[in-house]
Protein backbone atom coordinates (compact mmCIF):
# COMPACT_ATOMS: atom_id res chain seq x y z
CA UNK A 1 0.00 0.00 0.00
CA UNK A 2 2.85 2.38 0.85
CA UNK A 3 4.77 1.74 -2.40
CA UNK A 4 1.43 1.93 -4.17
CA UNK A 5 0.99 5.34 -2.51
CA UNK A 6 4.18 6.64 -4.13
CA UNK A 7 3.19 5.07 -7.46
CA UNK A 8 -0.26 6.68 -7.20
CA UNK A 9 1.43 10.05 -6.66
CA UNK A 10 3.82 9.66 -9.60
CA UNK A 11 0.98 8.62 -11.93
CA UNK A 12 -1.16 11.55 -10.69
CA UNK A 13 1.72 13.96 -11.32
CA UNK A 14 2.15 12.57 -14.85
CA UNK A 15 -1.57 13.04 -15.49
CA UNK A 16 -1.44 16.61 -14.21
CA UNK A 17 1.67 17.44 -16.25
CA UNK A 18 0.30 15.86 -19.40
CA UNK A 19 2.17 18.40 -21.59
CA UNK A 20 5.53 17.21 -20.28
CA UNK A 21 4.43 13.62 -20.68
CA UNK A 22 3.51 14.17 -24.32
CA UNK A 23 6.73 16.05 -25.01
CA UNK A 24 8.66 13.02 -23.75
CA UNK A 25 7.12 11.19 -26.71
CA UNK A 26 7.19 14.01 -29.20
CA UNK A 27 10.67 15.54 -28.76
CA UNK A 28 12.68 12.49 -29.83
CA UNK A 29 10.21 11.93 -32.66
CA UNK A 30 10.85 15.49 -33.80
CA UNK A 31 14.61 14.84 -33.80
CA UNK A 32 13.93 11.81 -35.86
CA UNK A 33 11.51 13.37 -38.31
CA UNK A 34 13.18 16.70 -38.94
CA UNK A 35 16.86 16.24 -38.19
CA UNK A 36 17.63 12.65 -39.07
CA UNK A 37 15.16 12.55 -41.93
CA UNK A 38 16.80 15.52 -43.64
CA UNK A 39 20.28 14.08 -43.15
CA UNK A 40 19.22 10.70 -44.47
CA UNK A 41 19.06 12.19 -47.95
CA UNK A 42 22.71 13.25 -47.89
CA UNK A 43 24.48 10.63 -45.80
CA UNK A 44 25.10 6.93 -46.43
CA UNK A 45 26.32 4.62 -43.70
CA UNK A 46 28.28 1.46 -43.50
CA UNK A 47 27.74 -0.19 -40.14
CA UNK A 48 29.57 -3.39 -39.14
CA UNK A 49 30.24 -4.24 -42.77
CA UNK A 50 26.82 -3.54 -44.21
CA UNK A 51 25.29 -0.48 -45.76
CA UNK A 52 22.49 0.71 -43.64
CA UNK A 53 19.65 3.16 -43.93
CA UNK A 54 20.67 6.30 -42.06
CA UNK A 55 17.27 6.59 -40.37
CA UNK A 56 17.57 3.04 -39.11
CA UNK A 57 21.09 3.79 -37.85
CA UNK A 58 19.86 6.88 -35.95
CA UNK A 59 16.73 5.28 -34.48
CA UNK A 60 18.44 3.54 -31.49
CA UNK A 61 20.26 6.79 -30.70
CA UNK A 62 16.96 8.67 -30.71
CA UNK A 63 15.61 6.10 -28.27
CA UNK A 64 18.70 6.68 -26.09
CA UNK A 65 18.00 10.42 -26.16
CA UNK A 66 14.48 9.66 -25.03
CA UNK A 67 15.93 7.75 -22.07
CA UNK A 68 18.34 10.58 -21.38
CA UNK A 69 15.42 13.07 -21.22
CA UNK A 70 14.06 11.30 -18.15
CA UNK A 71 16.95 12.88 -16.23
CA UNK A 72 15.86 16.55 -16.38
CA UNK A 73 12.24 15.50 -15.73
CA UNK A 74 13.16 13.54 -12.60
CA UNK A 75 15.73 16.13 -11.52
CA UNK A 76 13.07 18.80 -11.58
CA UNK A 77 10.44 16.77 -9.67
CA UNK A 78 13.00 15.64 -7.08
CA UNK A 79 14.20 19.22 -6.64
CA UNK A 80 10.62 20.26 -5.89
CA UNK A 81 10.05 17.28 -3.60
CA UNK A 82 13.00 18.38 -1.48
CA UNK A 83 12.11 22.06 -1.66
CA UNK A 84 8.47 21.58 -0.71
CA UNK A 85 9.23 18.97 1.96
CA UNK A 86 7.36 16.16 0.20
CA UNK A 87 10.14 13.66 0.92
CA UNK A 88 10.18 14.59 4.61
CA UNK A 89 6.39 14.45 4.98
CA UNK A 90 6.14 11.13 3.15
CA UNK A 91 8.86 9.52 5.20
CA UNK A 92 7.56 10.88 8.51
CA UNK A 93 4.15 9.66 7.42
CA UNK A 94 5.49 6.12 7.17
CA UNK A 95 6.78 5.86 3.60
CA UNK A 96 10.26 4.56 2.84
CA UNK A 97 13.07 6.05 0.84
CA UNK A 98 13.28 2.87 -1.23
CA UNK A 99 9.56 3.21 -2.01
CA UNK A 100 9.98 6.83 -3.06
CA UNK A 101 12.88 6.03 -5.42
CA UNK A 102 11.38 2.78 -6.70
CA UNK A 103 8.11 4.53 -7.62
CA UNK A 104 10.04 7.15 -9.58
CA UNK A 105 12.03 4.47 -11.42
CA UNK A 106 8.94 2.35 -12.13
CA UNK A 107 6.74 5.14 -13.48
CA UNK A 108 9.44 7.00 -15.37
CA UNK A 109 10.86 3.84 -16.94
CA UNK A 110 7.32 2.77 -17.91
CA UNK A 111 6.92 6.06 -19.75
CA UNK A 112 10.31 5.62 -21.42
CA UNK A 113 9.63 1.99 -22.35
CA UNK A 114 6.26 2.96 -23.82
CA UNK A 115 7.76 5.81 -25.84
CA UNK A 116 10.72 3.66 -26.94
CA UNK A 117 8.48 0.80 -28.04
CA UNK A 118 6.48 3.33 -30.02
CA UNK A 119 9.66 4.44 -31.84
CA UNK A 120 10.83 0.85 -32.29
CA UNK A 121 7.51 -0.06 -33.92
CA UNK A 122 7.84 2.90 -36.26
CA UNK A 123 11.18 1.34 -37.19
CA UNK A 124 9.55 -2.05 -37.74
CA UNK A 125 6.74 -0.59 -39.83
CA UNK A 126 8.61 1.88 -41.99
CA UNK A 127 12.33 1.02 -41.87
CA UNK A 128 12.31 -2.78 -41.85
CA UNK A 129 13.81 -2.93 -38.37
CA UNK A 130 14.30 -6.63 -37.63
CA UNK A 131 12.71 -7.08 -34.18
CA UNK A 132 12.58 -10.69 -32.98
CA UNK A 133 11.18 -11.73 -29.61
CA UNK A 134 14.71 -12.23 -28.19
CA UNK A 135 15.76 -8.80 -29.45
CA UNK A 136 12.62 -7.25 -27.98
CA UNK A 137 13.33 -8.82 -24.61
CA UNK A 138 16.97 -7.68 -24.65
CA UNK A 139 15.80 -4.24 -25.78
CA UNK A 140 13.35 -3.87 -22.86
CA UNK A 141 15.90 -5.06 -20.27
CA UNK A 142 18.52 -2.68 -21.63
CA UNK A 143 15.96 0.14 -21.58
CA UNK A 144 15.21 -0.52 -17.92
CA UNK A 145 18.91 -0.58 -16.99
CA UNK A 146 19.77 2.59 -18.85
CA UNK A 147 16.63 4.42 -17.68
CA UNK A 148 17.48 3.44 -14.11
CA UNK A 149 20.81 5.20 -14.62
CA UNK A 150 19.40 8.47 -15.98
CA UNK A 151 16.55 8.58 -13.45
CA UNK A 152 19.12 8.18 -10.69
CA UNK A 153 21.19 10.98 -12.21
CA UNK A 154 17.99 13.06 -12.07
CA UNK A 155 17.45 12.20 -8.40
CA UNK A 156 21.09 12.92 -7.51
CA UNK A 157 21.10 16.30 -9.24
CA UNK A 158 17.64 17.16 -7.89
CA UNK A 159 18.78 16.47 -4.33
CA UNK A 160 22.29 17.95 -4.49
CA UNK A 161 21.91 21.03 -6.68
CA UNK A 162 19.74 23.29 -4.55
CA UNK A 163 19.87 26.50 -6.62
CA UNK A 164 17.29 26.67 -9.39
CA UNK A 165 19.55 28.92 -11.48
CA UNK A 166 22.55 26.57 -11.10
CA UNK A 167 20.38 23.63 -12.06
CA UNK A 168 19.07 25.36 -15.17
CA UNK A 169 22.60 26.39 -16.16
CA UNK A 170 23.84 22.84 -15.79
CA UNK A 171 20.97 21.61 -17.95
CA UNK A 172 21.73 24.25 -20.58
CA UNK A 173 25.49 23.66 -20.58
CA UNK A 174 25.56 19.88 -20.39
CA UNK A 175 22.52 18.56 -22.19
CA UNK A 176 23.58 19.27 -25.76
CA UNK A 177 27.24 18.16 -25.31
CA UNK A 178 25.96 14.93 -23.75
CA UNK A 179 23.67 14.32 -26.72
CA UNK A 180 26.20 15.29 -29.37
CA UNK A 181 29.32 13.61 -27.98
CA UNK A 182 27.42 10.34 -28.03
CA UNK A 183 27.39 8.84 -31.56
CA UNK A 184 23.67 9.33 -32.14
CA UNK A 185 23.80 11.10 -35.47
CA UNK A 186 27.23 10.13 -36.79
CA UNK A 187 29.10 6.90 -37.30
CA UNK A 188 30.78 5.47 -34.22
CA UNK A 189 34.51 6.31 -34.38
CA UNK A 190 34.11 8.93 -37.13
CA UNK A 191 34.08 12.03 -34.90
CA UNK A 192 37.23 14.15 -34.26
CA UNK A 193 39.47 12.65 -31.54
CA UNK A 194 38.52 15.24 -28.87
CA UNK A 195 34.84 14.44 -29.34
CA UNK A 196 35.64 10.74 -29.20
CA UNK A 197 37.48 11.24 -25.90
CA UNK A 198 34.48 13.11 -24.47
CA UNK A 199 32.25 10.40 -25.91
CA UNK A 200 34.19 7.72 -24.03
CA UNK A 201 33.39 9.33 -20.67
CA UNK A 202 29.80 10.00 -21.65
CA UNK A 203 27.43 7.33 -20.30
CA UNK A 204 24.98 8.05 -23.11
CA UNK A 205 27.56 6.72 -25.58
CA UNK A 206 27.30 3.26 -23.97
CA UNK A 207 23.52 3.41 -24.05
CA UNK A 208 23.47 4.49 -27.72
CA UNK A 209 25.97 1.84 -28.81
CA UNK A 210 24.28 -0.80 -26.63
CA UNK A 211 20.81 -0.12 -27.99
CA UNK A 212 22.12 0.06 -31.54
CA UNK A 213 23.86 -3.30 -31.12
CA UNK A 214 20.68 -4.90 -29.79
CA UNK A 215 18.32 -3.44 -32.38
CA UNK A 216 20.49 -3.60 -35.49
CA UNK A 217 22.78 -6.56 -34.83
CA UNK A 218 20.61 -8.52 -32.43
CA UNK A 219 23.34 -8.58 -29.79
CA UNK A 220 25.65 -6.39 -27.84
CA UNK A 221 29.07 -7.21 -26.35
CA UNK A 222 28.95 -8.40 -22.75
CA UNK A 223 31.10 -5.39 -21.74
CA UNK A 224 28.21 -3.06 -22.57
CA UNK A 225 25.79 -5.02 -20.42
CA UNK A 226 28.27 -5.02 -17.56
CA UNK A 227 29.18 -1.32 -17.87
CA UNK A 228 25.53 -0.27 -18.16
CA UNK A 229 24.47 -2.48 -15.26
CA UNK A 230 27.31 -1.30 -13.01
CA UNK A 231 26.60 2.34 -13.90
CA UNK A 232 22.86 1.88 -13.30
CA UNK A 233 23.19 0.12 -9.95
CA UNK A 234 25.93 2.50 -8.73
CA UNK A 235 23.78 5.50 -9.50
CA UNK A 236 20.72 3.98 -7.81
CA UNK A 237 22.82 3.37 -4.67
CA UNK A 238 24.22 6.90 -4.85
CA UNK A 239 20.74 8.36 -5.26
CA UNK A 240 19.50 6.45 -2.18
CA UNK A 241 22.54 7.60 -0.20
CA UNK A 242 22.13 11.26 -1.15
CA UNK A 243 18.36 11.30 -0.72
CA UNK A 244 18.79 9.84 2.76
CA UNK A 245 20.72 13.01 3.65
CA UNK A 246 17.57 15.10 3.20
CA UNK A 247 15.33 12.50 4.81
CA UNK A 248 14.39 12.36 8.51
CA UNK A 249 17.15 10.62 10.45
Amino acid sequence: MKLYGFIYREVSLKKEAIGGFISQFITPLMYFLFFAFSLSKTVNFEYHGRTINYLLYVLPGIIAIQIFYSYPVVSSTTFNDVRFGIIRTSLLGGGTLGGYILAKILIESSVVILASLFLAFIGVLFLNLPLSLTTLLQFIIYLVISTMFWISVGIVTGVKIRGELTRNMIFALLNLPIIFTAPVFYLEGSAPPWIQILGKINPLTYHVVGLRGILLLGKVPLTFWVVSLVLGISLVILSIKLTSEVAPK
Binding site: M1, K2, Y4, G5, F6, Y8, R9, S12, L13, E16, A17, F84, G85, I86, R88, T89, S90, L92, G93, G94, G95, P248, K249
Partner: protein, 311 residues
Protein backbone atom coordinates in the same frame (compact mmCIF):
# COMPACT_ATOMS: atom_id res chain seq x y z
CA UNK B 1 1.06 9.41 31.44
CA UNK B 2 2.87 12.59 30.36
CA UNK B 3 2.33 13.51 26.73
CA UNK B 4 5.82 14.94 26.61
CA UNK B 5 8.89 14.04 28.68
CA UNK B 6 12.18 15.65 27.80
CA UNK B 7 15.27 15.04 29.84
CA UNK B 8 18.62 16.81 29.50
CA UNK B 9 18.15 17.11 25.73
CA UNK B 10 20.93 18.72 23.69
CA UNK B 11 21.54 19.20 19.99
CA UNK B 12 24.25 20.95 18.02
CA UNK B 13 24.47 21.41 14.26
CA UNK B 14 28.20 22.10 14.20
CA UNK B 15 29.45 20.31 17.33
CA UNK B 16 30.41 23.64 18.93
CA UNK B 17 27.33 25.78 19.44
CA UNK B 18 24.25 24.23 20.96
CA UNK B 19 20.90 24.83 19.28
CA UNK B 20 19.39 23.09 22.32
CA UNK B 21 21.22 22.65 25.59
CA UNK B 22 20.11 20.55 28.52
CA UNK B 23 16.37 20.91 27.94
CA UNK B 24 14.03 19.40 30.55
CA UNK B 25 10.27 19.37 30.27
CA UNK B 26 7.44 17.17 31.41
CA UNK B 27 3.79 17.85 30.73
CA UNK B 28 0.54 16.05 30.10
CA UNK B 29 -0.78 19.14 28.26
CA UNK B 30 -4.03 19.25 30.29
CA UNK B 31 -5.66 21.85 28.07
CA UNK B 32 -4.68 20.00 24.90
CA UNK B 33 -2.67 22.87 23.43
CA UNK B 34 0.92 23.76 24.28
CA UNK B 35 2.59 26.77 22.70
CA UNK B 36 6.35 26.90 22.27
CA UNK B 37 7.56 30.48 22.04
CA UNK B 38 10.91 32.06 21.49
CA UNK B 39 12.73 34.51 19.25
CA UNK B 40 14.04 33.39 15.87
CA UNK B 41 16.98 31.01 16.26
CA UNK B 42 15.99 30.16 19.83
CA UNK B 43 15.81 26.43 19.12
CA UNK B 44 12.05 25.95 18.65
CA UNK B 45 12.30 24.29 15.24
CA UNK B 46 15.19 22.08 16.36
CA UNK B 47 13.09 20.90 19.31
CA UNK B 48 10.14 20.15 17.02
CA UNK B 49 12.44 18.34 14.60
CA UNK B 50 13.64 16.10 17.42
CA UNK B 51 10.15 15.48 18.78
CA UNK B 52 8.82 14.64 15.32
CA UNK B 53 11.74 12.19 14.84
CA UNK B 54 13.25 14.23 12.01
CA UNK B 55 16.51 14.71 13.95
CA UNK B 56 18.14 12.38 16.46
CA UNK B 57 19.00 13.96 19.79
CA UNK B 58 22.73 14.00 20.48
CA UNK B 59 22.38 13.97 24.26
CA UNK B 60 19.48 13.24 26.59
CA UNK B 61 16.11 11.71 25.84
CA UNK B 62 12.71 12.77 24.61
CA UNK B 63 9.53 10.76 24.97
CA UNK B 64 6.07 11.20 23.54
CA UNK B 65 3.31 9.23 25.27
CA UNK B 66 6.18 7.42 27.05
CA UNK B 67 7.67 6.31 23.71
CA UNK B 68 11.29 7.18 23.03
CA UNK B 69 11.86 9.34 19.91
CA UNK B 70 14.84 7.22 18.89
CA UNK B 71 13.94 3.68 19.96
CA UNK B 72 10.22 3.90 19.20
CA UNK B 73 10.48 6.18 16.18
CA UNK B 74 8.12 4.08 14.07
CA UNK B 75 5.35 3.97 16.67
CA UNK B 76 5.70 7.69 17.36
CA UNK B 77 5.41 8.51 13.67
CA UNK B 78 2.07 6.67 13.63
CA UNK B 79 0.76 8.84 16.46
CA UNK B 80 1.93 12.27 15.37
CA UNK B 81 1.43 14.60 12.44
CA UNK B 82 3.38 17.64 11.45
CA UNK B 83 2.12 20.81 9.81
CA UNK B 84 5.32 22.61 8.92
CA UNK B 85 5.52 26.23 7.86
CA UNK B 86 6.17 25.08 4.30
CA UNK B 87 3.00 23.50 3.03
CA UNK B 88 4.59 20.19 2.09
CA UNK B 89 1.82 19.58 -0.44
CA UNK B 90 2.10 18.73 -4.14
CA UNK B 91 0.85 21.98 -5.60
CA UNK B 92 0.14 20.39 -8.97
CA UNK B 93 -2.15 17.78 -7.45
CA UNK B 94 -5.70 18.25 -6.21
CA UNK B 95 -6.65 18.52 -2.55
CA UNK B 96 -8.16 15.03 -2.59
CA UNK B 97 -5.19 13.45 -4.41
CA UNK B 98 -2.77 15.02 -1.91
CA UNK B 99 -4.78 13.67 0.99
CA UNK B 100 -5.21 10.27 -0.62
CA UNK B 101 -1.48 9.95 -1.28
CA UNK B 102 -0.75 10.76 2.36
CA UNK B 103 -3.38 8.29 3.54
CA UNK B 104 -1.78 5.55 1.44
CA UNK B 105 1.65 6.37 2.81
CA UNK B 106 0.22 6.21 6.34
CA UNK B 107 -1.01 2.72 5.50
CA UNK B 108 -4.72 3.41 5.96
CA UNK B 109 -6.66 0.49 4.38
CA UNK B 110 -8.28 1.37 1.03
CA UNK B 111 -11.96 1.20 2.06
CA UNK B 112 -11.38 3.06 5.28
CA UNK B 113 -9.30 5.65 3.45
CA UNK B 114 -12.10 6.61 1.04
CA UNK B 115 -14.56 6.97 3.93
CA UNK B 116 -12.06 8.91 6.00
CA UNK B 117 -11.27 11.21 3.05
CA UNK B 118 -14.96 12.08 2.66
CA UNK B 119 -15.32 12.78 6.38
CA UNK B 120 -12.18 14.89 6.75
CA UNK B 121 -12.80 16.86 3.56
CA UNK B 122 -16.28 17.71 4.80
CA UNK B 123 -15.12 18.44 8.35
CA UNK B 124 -12.57 20.97 7.10
CA UNK B 125 -14.96 22.61 4.67
CA UNK B 126 -13.03 21.48 1.61
CA UNK B 127 -15.82 19.63 -0.22
CA UNK B 128 -16.22 22.18 -3.00
CA UNK B 129 -12.44 22.55 -3.37
CA UNK B 130 -11.45 18.89 -3.21
CA UNK B 131 -10.83 18.52 -6.95
CA UNK B 132 -8.97 21.80 -7.33
CA UNK B 133 -5.20 21.81 -7.58
CA UNK B 134 -3.50 23.15 -4.45
CA UNK B 135 -1.93 25.73 -6.76
CA UNK B 136 -5.37 27.26 -7.33
CA UNK B 137 -6.24 27.62 -3.64
CA UNK B 138 -5.92 30.65 -1.38
CA UNK B 139 -3.37 30.62 1.46
CA UNK B 140 -6.10 29.87 3.99
CA UNK B 141 -7.45 26.90 2.03
CA UNK B 142 -3.96 25.52 1.51
CA UNK B 143 -3.34 25.70 5.25
CA UNK B 144 -6.69 24.02 5.86
CA UNK B 145 -5.75 21.24 3.45
CA UNK B 146 -2.52 20.75 5.36
CA UNK B 147 -4.42 20.63 8.65
CA UNK B 148 -6.95 18.19 7.20
CA UNK B 149 -4.07 15.93 6.21
CA UNK B 150 -2.83 15.93 9.81
CA UNK B 151 -6.15 14.44 10.97
CA UNK B 152 -6.51 11.87 8.22
CA UNK B 153 -4.97 8.97 10.10
CA UNK B 154 -7.26 7.93 12.96
CA UNK B 155 -4.20 6.85 14.98
CA UNK B 156 -2.94 10.44 15.18
CA UNK B 157 -3.08 11.89 18.68
CA UNK B 158 -0.52 14.70 18.71
CA UNK B 159 -0.18 17.37 16.05
CA UNK B 160 2.76 19.74 15.70
CA UNK B 161 1.96 22.99 13.95
CA UNK B 162 4.64 25.50 13.03
CA UNK B 163 3.27 29.06 12.91
CA UNK B 164 -0.36 27.95 12.41
CA UNK B 165 -1.66 31.16 10.90
CA UNK B 166 1.40 32.85 9.44
CA UNK B 167 0.39 34.86 6.39
CA UNK B 168 -3.35 34.30 6.83
CA UNK B 169 -5.90 37.09 6.84
CA UNK B 170 -8.00 37.66 10.01
CA UNK B 171 -10.83 35.40 8.76
CA UNK B 172 -8.37 32.65 7.84
CA UNK B 173 -6.82 32.98 11.30
CA UNK B 174 -10.19 32.73 13.02
CA UNK B 175 -11.19 29.63 11.04
CA UNK B 176 -7.86 27.95 11.81
CA UNK B 177 -8.01 28.80 15.51
CA UNK B 178 -11.59 27.53 15.75
CA UNK B 179 -10.57 24.27 14.07
CA UNK B 180 -7.65 23.75 16.44
CA UNK B 181 -9.79 24.54 19.48
CA UNK B 182 -12.54 22.24 18.29
CA UNK B 183 -10.14 19.36 17.61
CA UNK B 184 -8.45 19.79 20.98
CA UNK B 185 -11.86 19.26 22.57
CA UNK B 186 -12.13 16.03 20.56
CA UNK B 187 -9.07 14.73 22.41
CA UNK B 188 -6.23 15.70 20.08
CA UNK B 189 -3.09 17.26 21.55
CA UNK B 190 -1.36 20.17 19.84
CA UNK B 191 2.12 21.59 20.11
CA UNK B 192 2.30 24.95 18.38
CA UNK B 193 5.44 26.92 17.66
CA UNK B 194 4.54 30.52 17.20
CA UNK B 195 5.57 34.11 17.71
CA UNK B 196 2.07 35.45 17.31
CA UNK B 197 0.98 36.58 20.77
CA UNK B 198 -2.65 36.97 19.75
CA UNK B 199 -2.56 33.36 18.66
CA UNK B 200 -1.07 32.27 21.98
CA UNK B 201 -3.71 34.21 23.88
CA UNK B 202 -6.46 32.80 21.73
CA UNK B 203 -5.39 29.14 21.84
CA UNK B 204 -3.05 28.21 24.64
CA UNK B 205 -3.34 27.68 28.34
CA UNK B 206 0.19 26.31 28.62
CA UNK B 207 3.33 27.96 27.29
CA UNK B 208 7.01 27.15 27.05
CA UNK B 209 9.61 29.83 26.35
CA UNK B 210 12.85 28.86 24.66
CA UNK B 211 15.74 31.27 24.45
CA UNK B 212 19.29 30.58 23.28
CA UNK B 213 18.66 26.83 23.26
CA UNK B 214 17.26 26.64 26.79
CA UNK B 215 13.80 26.54 28.27
CA UNK B 216 13.62 29.67 30.34
CA UNK B 217 10.00 29.37 31.38
CA UNK B 218 7.27 26.74 31.42
CA UNK B 219 4.05 28.09 32.81
CA UNK B 220 0.37 28.73 32.28
CA UNK B 221 -0.82 31.69 30.25
CA UNK B 222 -2.59 33.07 33.35
CA UNK B 223 0.56 32.91 35.43
CA UNK B 224 2.65 34.41 32.66
CA UNK B 225 0.28 37.31 32.27
CA UNK B 226 0.28 37.84 36.01
CA UNK B 227 4.07 37.83 36.37
CA UNK B 228 5.24 39.31 33.09
CA UNK B 229 2.39 41.04 31.38
CA UNK B 230 -0.25 42.00 33.91
CA UNK B 231 1.11 45.38 34.95
CA UNK B 232 -0.58 48.66 34.13
CA UNK B 233 1.54 51.73 33.54
CA UNK B 234 -0.11 55.06 34.39
CA UNK B 235 1.76 58.10 33.11
CA UNK B 236 0.89 61.62 34.22
CA UNK B 237 1.16 64.20 31.47
CA UNK B 238 2.93 66.61 33.84
CA UNK B 239 5.52 65.91 36.52
CA UNK B 240 3.96 65.41 39.94
CA UNK B 241 4.67 67.72 42.86
CA UNK B 242 6.90 66.15 45.54
CA UNK B 243 4.00 66.25 48.06
CA UNK B 244 1.74 64.34 45.64
CA UNK B 245 4.47 61.81 44.95
CA UNK B 246 4.88 61.22 48.68
CA UNK B 247 1.12 60.83 49.27
CA UNK B 248 0.72 58.53 46.28
CA UNK B 249 3.77 56.48 47.17
CA UNK B 250 2.50 55.90 50.70
CA UNK B 251 -0.92 54.94 49.43
CA UNK B 252 0.42 52.46 46.88
CA UNK B 253 2.80 50.85 49.38
CA UNK B 254 0.15 50.60 52.11
CA UNK B 255 -2.30 48.85 49.78
CA UNK B 256 0.26 46.79 47.82
CA UNK B 257 -0.95 48.29 44.55
CA UNK B 258 2.35 49.14 42.89
CA UNK B 259 5.13 51.73 42.89
CA UNK B 260 6.12 55.10 41.47
CA UNK B 261 8.75 55.16 38.74
CA UNK B 262 10.47 58.53 38.19
CA UNK B 263 8.46 61.69 38.63
CA UNK B 264 5.38 60.98 36.56
CA UNK B 265 4.78 57.23 36.20
CA UNK B 266 3.01 54.70 38.37
CA UNK B 267 3.44 50.98 37.80
CA UNK B 268 0.39 49.09 39.03
CA UNK B 269 0.37 45.38 39.78
CA UNK B 270 -2.81 44.69 37.80
CA UNK B 271 -5.94 46.14 36.26
CA UNK B 272 -7.94 46.11 39.52
CA UNK B 273 -5.33 48.38 41.14
CA UNK B 274 -6.11 50.98 38.50
CA UNK B 275 -9.64 51.52 39.80
CA UNK B 276 -8.29 51.91 43.32
CA UNK B 277 -5.84 54.50 42.02
CA UNK B 278 -8.58 56.41 40.26
CA UNK B 279 -10.61 56.60 43.48
CA UNK B 280 -7.58 57.85 45.36
CA UNK B 281 -6.75 60.50 42.76
CA UNK B 282 -10.34 61.76 42.82
CA UNK B 283 -10.21 61.89 46.62
CA UNK B 284 -7.15 64.17 46.57
CA UNK B 285 -8.70 66.31 43.81
CA UNK B 286 -6.37 65.32 40.96
CA UNK B 287 -7.53 65.90 37.38
CA UNK B 288 -7.75 62.36 35.99
CA UNK B 289 -7.95 63.54 32.39
CA UNK B 290 -4.24 64.28 32.69
CA UNK B 291 -3.15 60.63 32.70
CA UNK B 292 -2.23 58.06 30.02
CA UNK B 293 -2.86 54.39 30.77
CA UNK B 294 -1.07 51.48 29.09
CA UNK B 295 -1.63 47.85 29.91
CA UNK B 296 1.31 45.48 29.34
CA UNK B 297 0.65 43.01 26.56
CA UNK B 298 1.91 39.47 26.14
CA UNK B 299 4.41 40.87 23.69
CA UNK B 300 5.74 43.24 26.37
CA UNK B 301 6.02 40.27 28.70
CA UNK B 302 7.79 38.24 26.01
CA UNK B 303 10.31 41.01 25.38
CA UNK B 304 10.80 41.52 29.11
CA UNK B 305 11.41 37.80 29.56
CA UNK B 306 14.14 37.58 26.94
CA UNK B 307 15.80 40.70 28.29
CA UNK B 308 14.83 43.39 25.81
CA UNK B 309 14.55 43.88 22.06
CA UNK B 310 18.32 43.95 21.44
CA UNK B 311 18.48 40.27 22.47
Amino acid sequence: MPVLEISNLSFSYDGKNYALEGINLSTDIPSGILSVLGPNGAGKTTLVNILTTTFKPQKGTAKIFSLDVVKDKKKIREMISLCAQDLELDVLLSVRTNLKFYGMIRGIPKNELERRLDDIIEMFGLTEHQHKRVLELSGGLRRRTQLARAFLDPRTRLIFIDEPTLGLDPIGKKITWDLIREMSKEGYYFILTTNDMTEVESLSDEIVFIHKGKIILHTTLKEFKHVYAGKVMVTFKKELFPQVIEMLSNYLRRNNLGKIIGKNTVELEDKSAFYELLLFLREIGFDITQIVVKEETLLDGFIKLIGGIKQ
